[in-house]
């Protein structure tokens, strides 16, 4: 798989930040926006081009929660684990989601359909407990509502396919 990575997509980003000291994080953000995640091939190439040791880049990538070293699912589920949501039963929502999609926090389904993440407050605390699927926010959740929004039936069908 690594062979068919189109490294030329990196060129505009490399060019844009060529001379800028400390642009590493911004570059990584833009690179991730292009490829969806940060693969070894891409990071190795970046390291050579910007003359920053790969170990240092790896250190930065693994420090920040928003960088991913593996591909992510087509649908990103983010369950809020903020305080307001916790107080209103957020941990039960996370459990319900885990049960429904069959993966735990930080994982991606093998068919790359879903990735499950937690986030500290999405700023809709009045609607706690909350989760976000892709761009859409779901509020005032109950385990039952979670099951409806992630219809198990729907998933079963996909598994059969």
């Amino acid at each position: 798989m690594s062979n068919d990575v189109d490294l030329s997509l990196l060129d505009p980003i490399l060019k844009k930040y060529q001379s800028q000291e400390g642009a590493l994080i911004t570059m990584l953000q833009e690179i991730q926006a292009v490829y969806g995640y940060l693969s070894e091939v891409v990071l190795t190439h970046l390291s050579r081009e910007v003359k920053v040791p790969l170990s240092q880049i790896y250190g930065v990538v693994t420090f920040y929660a928003q960088f991913y070293l593996t591909p992510r699912g087509r649908n990103i589920i983010r369950v809020c684990r903020g305080t307001a949501c916790h107080v209103r039963g957020g941990s039960r929502i996370l459990e319900a989601v885990e049960r429904e999609v069959g993966i735990t926090e930080g994982e991606t389904t093998p068919d790359l359909e879903y990735s499950l993440e937690t986030v500290a407050c999405i700023g809709a605390c009045a609607l706690a407990p909350t989760m976000v699927i892709n761009e859409k926010t779901y509020g005032k959740l109950t385990p039952k509502k979670v099951m409806e929004s992630l219809s198990r039936k729907d998933r079963k069908e996909r598994e059969v396919e």
């Binding site: 000291e21 420090f63 920040y64 107080v87 700023g123």
Partner: protein
């Protein structure tokens, strides 16, 4: 309606303001806005009515919110179906739709204007002055309420020293948590030698359960930018950064737009307002690390490194970004600056308490009736905030604690409700102003679980650089976890306190120094709850899973099948006219049965610290009903 507000509604036009804050957006406000725009066009009243978007009004509980100016009519919980009626009755026939008014939960009375709603009437909005009233995407709206006047006053009429003196005199203390005097901080940086200095706005807002900085950036970005330019002028900086948390894409979008507009207006860039002062601003998006809110970690992050704090001194004011003198201020601190310059230090310092001037913004959440963003003068009591503005506890439950200041703060009990809050009184009580998260907890919140929750957050976010924080929080978390699992032993509480003091005293940065606060305050005020967990394996609030069981009271169960159908793991057995029983081995304790059992039956019990009663026999489980008796 004040002169200012009228100015916003451009020359006698009616303005329909639809909130596009995060809360309202998630309950369909974009669709409502679209329907309004379409409907107004169809009715041909577009030349007298204008639809505008605004940022968060703060009263997210009541969203989606639609406000009609200049009357100030406040419609809440609006749906798309309500739009035709608003257009027909209010906009065309000038008869407000009473059905959509806010209803005072106490009196049941319908309240037409937001100024009369208790939630707003009891607040004093200085930092949030424009939030919800102006369109954050239009600089003209900001200019109409006096925007960039303060910048003009500072640049054209004051020396940097005079600006610093004014801010010092105002008594403004940083709203990022520590409460350091903003004027003194600026003076420090101003006096540091060197031609290149940096001005940074800290919009990292990491507190999990607080969203005030986000709301301000989304609802009133120009105020923050204006404050930042004035600060840059005062310290002598030509370049600045706004560091925004990764999860805030809308804030980033509005900031970019606002920066572009400010530049077009000659407020940013070269020769600002015709003077020889130049200032450029960059936006840096965070990449998801709580510790980056700490100023030295934030600097490392802007430099493209891992966001690890370093010891101070040297302070950023001496050696900050790229080793140059740097000032870092919070979003709220900066948003306050324009008002201080415009209205003067004396006006500002007349608000608040002796040592904490001005107002405080809180994200009021948890099990409270009115969740939302609120602002009160320093010195207001918790009681005023929670009951007068917040409307009390949800569903008539009993108040237990209020958590202030997020992972760095503490949990205060009922006895603290009359405490006038400011920076010093909160630290005195073991909590902290922190970022301004205020989470209200009722009798169904377990304080040991709460302490564990916050510590698991800080432990997870600890950058790992210093040992006390990296390992100390880990050991503390292990102890707390075993207590919540019923495996606590005598001496655990004392051990926690000892470790907590150690971690507080010896950690490198504020993260570790404050991480034990939630633990220490819950032990201080709710020690009996810890003891119940340890000695009697009982969770009084019915939260800690290992210590509770759900049980259906056979005397109350009406065999309605609701819980049976909704149980996600099919752990409930029963049938029509057959009293339901929970299979304790299958039960995952998700609490669904408790939440779905109709209140008129109220048959599900949470049992803790005692054995689950054995289920009734087969014959006892049969319900025989007289004919005609409903289920």
């Amino acid at each position: 309606m004040s002169e200012e507000k009228a100015a916003v509604s451009t020359s006698g036009m009616r303005v329909v303001i639809v909130c596009q804050g995060t809360g309202c957006v998630s309950s369909e406000s974009p669709e409502i806005r679209e329907a309004l725009e379409k409907g107004i066009e169809q009715q041909g009243i577009g030349d007298t009515v204008q639809v505008k978007l605004s940022g968060c009004h703060g009263y997210c509980e009541q969203g989606p919110i639609v406000i009609i100016e200049p009357e100030g009519v406040f419609y809440c919980r609006v749906t798309r179906e309500d739009v035709p009626e608003i257009i027909e009755c209010h906009l065309k026939n000038k008869k407000p739709v009473e059905r959509l008014f806010y209803r005072d939960p106490g009196t049941g009375e319908a309240v037409a204007c937001y100024n009369d709603i208790a939630f707003y009437a009891k607040q004093q909005r200085v930092i949030l002055r424009n939030c919800g009233h102006i369109n954050p995407e239009m600089i003209d709206d900001y200019l109409a309420v006096g925007g960039y006047e303060a910048l003009r006053k500072a640049l054209l009429g004051m020396t940097p020293e005079e600006v610093i003196e004014e801010v010092k005199r105002s008594g403004l203390r940083g709203r990022g948590g520590a409460g350091f005097s903003t004027g003194v901080k600026w003076e420090f940086c101003h006096n540091s030698p060197g031609p290149d200095k940096y001005m940074i706005c800290n919009g990292d807002e990491g507190d999990p359960g607080a969203f005030m900085d986000r709301s301000i950036l989304e609802a009133d970005p120009h105020s923050v930018i204006e404050g930042m330019i004035i600060a840059a002028y005062a310290i002598g900086s030509g370049e600045g950064y706004i560091y925004v948390r990764a999860e805030y894409p809308l804030a980033v979008k509005r900031l970019r737009l606002a920066l572009k507009q400010a530049e077009e207006h000659g407020c940013i860039g070269e020769r600002i307002l015709g003077t020889d002062f130049n200032f450029w601003v960059h936006i840096m998006e965070g990449a998801g690390a709580f510790v980056c809110g700490e100023e030295t970690a934030l600097l490392a992050s802007i430099e493209g490194k891992r966001g690890m704090p370093r010891p101070r001194p040297p302070f950023p004011a001496q050696s900050g970004l790229w080793g140059k003198p740097t000032t870092i201020n919070n979003v709220k601190s900066l948003a306050t600056i324009p008002v201080i310059i415009s209205r003067g230090a004396d006006w500002y310092s007349s608000i608040g308490t002796e040592k904490s001037k001005g107002t405080a913004v809180f994200a009021l959440t948890g099990t409270i009736a009115n969740s939302g963003l609120i602002e009160v003068p320093m010195g207001a009591t918790l009681h005023q905030i929670i009951y007068d503005i917040g409307g009390g506890i949800l569903r008539g439950k009993a108040f237990k604690a209020v958590q202030i200041g997020g992972p760095s703060g503490g949990c205060l009990p009922e006895s603290a409700l009359d405490l006038p809050i400011d920076f010093d009184s909160l630290s005195g009580a073991g909590a902290m102003m922190g970022s301004g998260g205020m989470v209200v907890m009722d009798e169904t919140t377990c304080m040991v679980d709460t302490a564990r929750y916050f510590l698991s957050f800080t432990q997870n976010e600890s950058c790992g650089k210093c040992t006390p924080c990296r390992l100390g929080t880990k050991r503390m978390l292990e102890i707390l976890t075993r207590i919540t699992e019923g495996k606590g032993v005598e001496g655990d509480i004392e051990l926690l306190v000892e470790l907590a003091e150690e971690v507080k005293d010896s950690s490198l940065c504020g993260l570790g120094q404050t991480a034990p606060n939630p633990v220490l305050t819950t032990i201080k005020y709710f020690r009996d709850e810890y003891e119940e967990h340890i000695r009697n394996h009982r969770c009084p609030a019915g939260v800690c899973k290992a210590l509770i069981a759900y049980y259906i009271d056979p005397g109350e169960c009406q065999a309605c099948m609701i819980c049976l159908r909704q149980c996600p793991v099919e752990a409930i057995e029963g049938g029509k006219n057959l009293i339901h029983v929970i299979d304790q081995d299958k039960c995952t304790k998700c609490g669904t049965c408790l939440s779905v059992c109709p209140p008129r039956f109220n048959a599900v019990r949470v049992i803790s610290g005692e054995p689950v009663p054995s289920p009734p026999s087969a014959t006892e489980r049969k319900i025989t009903r007289a004919r005609g008796e409903g289920r």
